[in-house]
């Protein structure tokens, strides 16, 4: 190995070596002088400052943005609240302090201990760690009286969220609660004890409503007692949110739905503004704000009626006859049938060796498309579905806004389901059968839709074909996400059949008719189970609740240039017309007030 390429015996630059030595001498001298200045010349002063007057920084909570309804009524506010915190550094005996707290506040000591241990790794020794979020005034007084002897206890003012209407809007507004481990890891601005939106608008609008925490300097003496505070950075309040919801209408709709399980949506057809969104049963979102006990949480979670579920957007049901509008549209678009083509309904249709029944066992006789829709004849649509096939029904349904999220500003929206050959292959590893076209054509089988998807489709029928994003923010402009795959003439035909369904003597929605208002509707039934034969002819009240079908009704109402869409879904409500009809009718009476209509006498029962 020869490395003599550089054997030039180069002399290192003398000046350079001198420079390096001077540099070392330089830092030695400069830093020695600095140490002398800090430690000897001003040492006593610094030592006193270190001993007697310490400075701490504390965060100051920012008030969260308020939520109002479209008319400015407050739906979410911040109340002053006081939290109890502990500073470990100021404590001579933490276990004793915890015991004291559990005595004073009459709290479970083990639970308190657990809260403390869990939060401890996230909080520095000189920072206050929140133990109790909202103190009552009595508790506050007790703690205040003892802070001199227990300097480790601090009272922090932390605004607390309050929802004046509670359950009425819980599904829309959601709630805030203490940030959990994952949330804190994902967002460096969150510290232990911070509240974040978990559900609903509180979750979706988190970033604009949160605001920014401020900081203040707290001077404390050696024992941790506060001497004074200075605001360093004032907190910035979060931005307010104005919802599209009309609180009075929401209250009315809530009462109209009454004790039923289900949901109702009221929407402006031209803007997508959601004026009311009710899902029952509801829950009280105020329960979550100060932390929910395990027992309460289990009660809510395991309640068979699922109060936490927002049925308008998270529950997907077979659309039933409501879907017949979509099938009629697909048949017109693909020129499978003209509006005048007639089909004979004898009460059933035979396909292969199977008999597909119409809900009207006696048969409807000859039907054109208008009558097929108005009377909701199954056989008519079996015929269309058989001719169309899933490969044409699937894309048409998807373009009409089914099987895709509407994009409403709420988390956890369900997509629903529009089956296709591919889907069935993936899901069941089976081919698509001809009979499934028939089930799909009357909105049964695998089809699943959310009430909101139905509302958006209905709005598109009467607003010129625009598929809008359902808006929950009053100030958001209409957001067009797509177009119905229909020619204008076909669309108007479908709208007219909906009007005929209300106004015709044989229409399944004739009970909602209202003079002076242009009303259109379609009823539907979402089958829960294939009804056993003993229930087939029984009256609704004789069928056990859980075997009863779900009742759908989608509708629109227009007068004086205003046009609304109302969709109601009543779980286990039997036929669409009889259960959902009165609810929807009363809402239109509210929206278009006029002299009271003559009392209802029609007690007939129309399954869809």
């Amino acid at each position: 190995m020869h490395l003599n390429r550089d054997a030039e015996q180069q002399q290192s630059p003398k000046n350079g070596l001198l420079l390096l030595q001077l540099l070392v001498l330089g830092i030695f001298v400069v830093f020695t002088l600095r140490f002398w200045y800090l430690q000897l010349h001003r040492g006593q002063e610094f030592a006193d400052r270190a001993e007697n007057n310490r400075i701490r920084q504390q965060q100051v909570y920012a008030p969260r943005g308020l939520i109002r309804d479209r008319n400015g009524v407050l739906l979410a506010v911040n109340e002053p609240a006081y939290a109890l915190a502990i500073v470990r550094e100021d404590s001579r005996d933490i276990p004793a302090a915890l015991r004291r707290i559990s005595d004073w506040l009459d709290m479970n000591h083990d639970l308190l201990q657990e809260t403390f241990e869990k939060g401890r790794p996230r909080i520095r020794r000189f920072e206050p760690q929140i133990l109790v979020h909202s103190l009552t005034f009595a508790q506050l007084a007790t703690i205040e009286a003892n802070t001199m002897t227990w300097p480790e206890l601090k009272i922090l003012t932390k605004p607390r969220r309050f929802y004046p209407q509670g359950p009425l809007l819980a599904h829309v507004i959601g709630y805030v609660a203490e940030a959990n481990e994952q949330e804190m890891n994902a967002d460096p601005n969150l510290t232990l004890g911070d509240s974040v939106g978990k559900k609903g608008i509180e979750f979706t609008m988190e970033s604009s409503m949160r605001g920014r925490k401020g900081a203040r300097q707290v001077d404390v003496d050696a024992a941790g007692r506060q001497l004074g505070t200075t605001m360093l950075v004032p907190p910035e309040a979060g931005g307010d949110v104005r919802l599209s919801i009309d609180l009075e209408l929401q209250e009315f709709v809530d009462q109209a739905l009454g004790e039923h399980v289900g949901s109702v949506i009221v929407m402006e057809a031209d803007t997508g503004q959601v004026l009311a969104l009710v899902s029952k049963p509801a829950f009280d979102n105020n329960m979550f704000v100060s932390g929910l006990s395990h027992a309460d949480w289990a009660l809510l979670r395991d309640n068979p009626a699922h109060p936490l579920q927002n049925r308008a957007i998270q529950s997907a049901y077979p659309p039933g006859s409501v879907f017949k509008l979509v099938i009629a549209g697909a048949a017109l678009t693909h020129r499978i049938a003209a509006t005048t083509d007639r089909v004979f309904c004898s009460g059933g249709l035979r396909l292969g060796n199977r008999l597909f029944r119409c809900w009207e066992r006696r048969g409807h006789g000859w039907m054109d498309m208008n009558q097929g829709l108005v009377q909701s004849c199954d056989v008519y649509f079996y015929t269309l579905g058989d001719k169309l096939g899933v490969d044409r029904m699937h894309p048409h349904a998807v373009e009409s806004g089914f099987g895709v999220r509407t994009g409403i500003d709420l988390p956890h929206e369900s997509m629903g389901l529009v089956p296709s050959r591919d889907w069935k292959r993936r899901r069941f590893n089976e081919p698509w059968h001809g009979g499934e076209n028939l089930n799909m054509s009357i909105g049964q089988g695998y089809m699943l839709t959310t009430p909101l998807q139905v509302a958006r489709y209905t709005a598109a029928l009467i607003n010129g074909g625009k598929l809008l994003k359902p808006q929950l923010l009053a100030d958001a402009p209409p957001d067009i996400l797509g177009e119905l795959p229909l020619q204008a003439g076909h669309r108007e035909f479908l709208v007219q059949t909906m009007v005929n369904t209300v106004e015709g003597s044989r229409g399944t929605a004739r009970r909602i008719a209202k003079p002076g208002v242009r009303l259109g509707a379609k009823t539907g039934t979402a089958q829960v189970v294939r009804l056993m034969s003993e229930f087939e002819r029984a009256k609704l009240t004789d069928i056990p609740y859980h075997f009863r079908d779900h009742a759908w009704m989608n509708s629109f109402g227009q007068r004086d240039g205003r046009s609304y869409v109302i969709v109601a879904m009543v779980e286990h409500g039997g036929g669409g017309g009889s259960t959902a009809g009165p609810i929807i009718k009363s809402i239109y009476d509210y929206l278009f007030p006029d002299p009271p209509a003559p009392p209802e006498t029609d007690e007939a029962l129309d399954p869809a």
Binding site: M1, L3, N4, D6, A7, E8, Q9, Q10, S12, P13, N15, G16, L17, L19, L20, Q21, L23, V24, L25, I27, F28, V30, F31, T32, R34, F35, W36, L38, Q39, L40, R42, G43, Q44, E45, F46, A47, R49, A50, E51, R54, I55, R56, Q57, R88, E89, I94, R120, P121, I123, R124, R125, F126, P188, A215, Q217, L232, V233
Partner: protein, 370 residues
Amino acid sequence: MTLLDRRLITHFDWALAGFAMALFALGVVNLYSASGFRMEEGLSLSSFYRKQLYWGMIGLGGMIAFLVFDYRHLRMLAWPLFVATVLALVATLLWGKTIMGARRWLDLGLFNFQSSEFAKISLLILAAKLLSRDQGKLGWNQLLILGGIGLVPALLVLKQPDLGSAVTLLLILGGMALFRGIRGSVLKVAALLVPAALPLGWHVLHDYQRQRILGFLDPGNDPLGAGYHIIQSQIAVGSGQLWGRGFLEGTQSQLRFLPEKHTDFALAVFGEEWGFIGCLVLLILISLFLLSIIRTAAEAKDGFGCYLAVGIFFYFFWQILINMGMVLGLMPVVGIPLPLISYGGTSTMTSFCLIGLVLNISMRRFFFKK
């Protein structure tokens, strides 16, 4: 050329190794103290001093690895190493792990490697190669080449964003150039250019970095961070007075307010606990350590070895100057550790490897004296 050559052993620089070890030992003891081993320490640092000891062992391995081969082989490797570094920096920016909002780390499975440290080593090797090719004072051309190889890694590191490492890279290069000497005419122009470039540099900095500089210039005016740290660390050091508060006693005072007390502010803990006397001892140790590196540079048998030692000298010198200056309130807060004293895997590794390289150069200083 083998390890068994007796002269290699006889020329081993025990003094340099000894000073380095002493500094490292002080650092571990100091970490132990900064870790505040009281039972109810929320963010327990108690594992840090132990981890640092492990790093020291691994570092010793690195040191030995860097002194067994003949350092002159590095000349051939200079360019490949440099290119590999630039690639590693780009990789870090693209796929690095984000820690505290900065992408500085490549997860190599074994440990997270801070690619900017690797850049310091390969840059000083390349600079030593280029500077030792000819003699005399540096002119424009040579300076431009040096500036070019410095700016590429420096800008990449600045993007991470790691202002401290970017500044260190350029300072090491500048120091080596000054050692070689620069033509007077060039210096005059540079003296005019630098103030002109300042506003531009101000523009490149991140918001928080500007905050720190402003906070340094006016500590009272930056309540949320930089100024606060500067005040707190001065109180900590100052309160040590002549004899210090004593071992483990410092954790009772101001240090809680220093978030990086085990890394960048290690000296504040030291100053508080050991006082003026301790700090003087530390300064003397540091000075002797640096002087040993200068001696190696002076006795090196070829230009490459000399410049290599000079580069390593500057690696330690600048970081010591900036870190101490920051803790003592003479400089803005820049995230630069105190070599051998602060906690940190990559920094400890790099320091030991570079010390190995200096020992390597001094061991082989008689190779041409047949």
